[in-house]
Symmetry: C2
Subunit: 462 residues, 2 copies
Amino acid sequence: MKRDEIKDLYANAKEYENKEVCIGGWVKSVRANKEFGFIDFTDGTCFKTLQIVFNKNLSNFEEVSKINTGSTIICSGKIVLTPLNKQPFEMVATNIDIFCATDSEYPLQKKRHSVEFLREIAYLRPRTNLFQAVFRVRSCAAMAIHMYFQENNYVYVNTPLITTTDCEGSDQMFKITTLNFNNLPKDKNGNVDMSKDLFGKQSFITGSGQLHGEAFALAFNKIYTFGPTFRTENSNTKTHANEFWMIEPEIAFCDLEQLMDIEEEMLKYIVKYVIDKCPYELEFLDNFVQKGLLEKLNKLLSSKFVRIDHSDVIDILKKADVKWEFEPQEGGDIAKEHEKYITEYFNGPVFIKNWPKDIKAYYMKLNDDDRTVAAVDLEVPGAGELMGGSQREENYDKIIKRCDEMGVDKNTIDWYLNLRKFGSCVHSGFGMGFERLVMYLTGVENIRDVIPFPRTPQNCDY
Amino acid sequence: MKRDEIKDLYANAKEYENKEVCIGGWVKSVRANKEFGFIDFTDGTCFKTLQIVFNKNLSNFEEVSKINTGSTIICSGKIVLTPLNKQPFEMVATNIDIFCATDSEYPLQKKRHSVEFLREIAYLRPRTNLFQAVFRVRSCAAMAIHMYFQENNYVYVNTPLITTTDCEGSDQMFKITTLNFNNLPKDKNGNVDMSKDLFGKQSFITGSGQLHGEAFALAFNKIYTFGPTFRTENSNTKTHANEFWMIEPEIAFCDLEQLMDIEEEMLKYIVKYVIDKCPYELEFLDNFVQKGLLEKLNKLLSSKFVRIDHSDVIDILKKADVKWEFEPQEGGDIAKEHEKYITEYFNGPVFIKNWPKDIKAYYMKLNDDDRTVAAVDLEVPGAGELMGGSQREENYDKIIKRCDEMGVDKNTIDWYLNLRKFGSCVHSGFGMGFERLVMYLTGVENIRDVIPFPRTPQNCDY
């Protein structure tokens, strides 16, 4: 039962001229009169659909004429080039087997559905044009990421999801257990005895693979992770999910300037790859989701990203003739409204670097001014912060001092701190939220619509 | 501070002849007399090391001569071709900066360490030859998998890790929570009130993305997942870990025979890719881990995998002149000893297909004999079961009947069962444990040694 694929028809239309093909797929819509009819048909292999022409010579002409959206059919027929039509070719059907006919119970009828409604049928929404485009871009962007890093000789490392190491704060991590909640073992003080759990202690699912990634960078020079991460944040915003994918490269013998070079090069590589591989999808998204999407992406390719110190950003914000919700402050954080202003001010992507040490993590390299750390966030127009990275503190004494100043528990990260004694080197890394990237690439504004089955507070269906 | 890379030296040695380079990396060993010395040097970019020659013209000749294994140095010097030596070139150092000198506290001294010892320093073991080889092969195999599927127009789908859907049995899934174990909210019956948890109900981390993958296959035709999965099994064997990575492709309009075609093609693609990309690593593994590894891999490429029914395998086992620990039985499972015998019997990979329905899952396609299901396991010499797959039951009434017969709770999978009403089609899929694959590719026999930071019962360090 070898089948032809619509993707291949579009790629090699000429070769299929007057050829017999057989394709299994699904009806998007049908219109017919008493003599003949047309089916808008997809097999899922391509964003573009195939038009099937059928006529009353079909033994099941009546049934086919009345077939419902979403029905499965197996069609045989001849490919005819139609250079004057909107579609470059169509299939003239000789046989149409109806494998599974849907009825009016089928939730996706031929009309526009709201994204809110579609979220409630997450298992069916990938069949709609919007999600066909989004999830194909997502897949393509993932491949671009692997290609960029592998072509540049990075080693892909699968850092552990289950962990007892506290990277980003254990209050933000999900606890995991095999114990029975209704019958928890207790120690002699009446507290739950986690030593009875599978790992013999409390374990978590992780919010970052960075610390483990650093250990591998000091062995393989350049590594990247690409996997799921978790946060327990109880916030219902357009940009937060409790499960999301992250890319975390880590590079030995690399300082902050070189890190920015890598971030810029990687982002351009991904954007170029997606533009090349997903022309139909981006055209659709440009038309129906974000006007100007393609222009935005093409512009990024030719732009040189601005690099500016955090303190200079604050100066610009202070001088701006804007009534801020959060007043910009020296030594303070950059709010969403500031991110937006600064990318519009420079009309392109902006690296904000050398952040006040008090609002950043203990592992970031302390600058000579003793006031800032060698951290950098990349802000992009329309999406805000896309990547966050830093040069890491490679000096053992200094990182111990920072841990103590910031009240970091050194017990679970002793091995990580030891990396500063055992072959330490200048090294840097960054994290990129994969969903943020997909939102940027597709113009989709809600993170729930770029994740196959999103997990947000009170929402863990499927 | 742009650095050259040893990887690049090996790839383009001629171009570097008499060129000045600067490389940051780590000392593997040093030997010196009063006049000159040699450093065996790695920068992590390549399995092969670089020999650095230095002499007493160096201002820090004394310190360099006494430098310890694992120390970080930044070396400048000229590349000299040495076609008569074991290495094709070496660096004549003009400057060596000692960035971080280790001392005798450094756990990896210049000697052979046991894998058991190395597991205890999982954050340092990637610096050893064995793990340099293993984790580079792992990275390379991951890339091969993405390339195979993307070249064949599969969509990469990130199925959720957090789930409330029961695919493989919730007793085998870790529970997750944000609640405080020592202060759990109770309902009026005194049971823990999971409605107070972040998702409003008990949620798990998943053991499979298959069910979600099927939903996407019915939209995109061909999809694959590649991500972490979890099992709570409390078993300490060489082949079990509580966290591992799986690849789960799912293909619409594909029956069991076609599925086997895909599995065979994919495995050969991966093996060929790794042979091409990791020659130094495989040579090392062939020499020091599994004699005959390369021969085994090359043989696989040219073999045609056997396809045989489960019942015929049982016949062969029964006729065998072997004293079994587990007597082979019609309708019974295939034990490890049987797997081993049957791959040796056929002297190559074997697909065992059409399994007794009672020992397989509810979602597998019931064959016309009403006794077997269209399931297939791939057994490979030396590694046992590498993949398990099946044609899926696409008929709504039949899958409901199977759920009822097998006592499967239909409540959490109603959406999955609905896929059989809404555009159902013949479809098939399989799962491959990524670590099993890496063990097969490297000859490593313990799963703990192919995972960067393995998680097994009582073992969740780092």
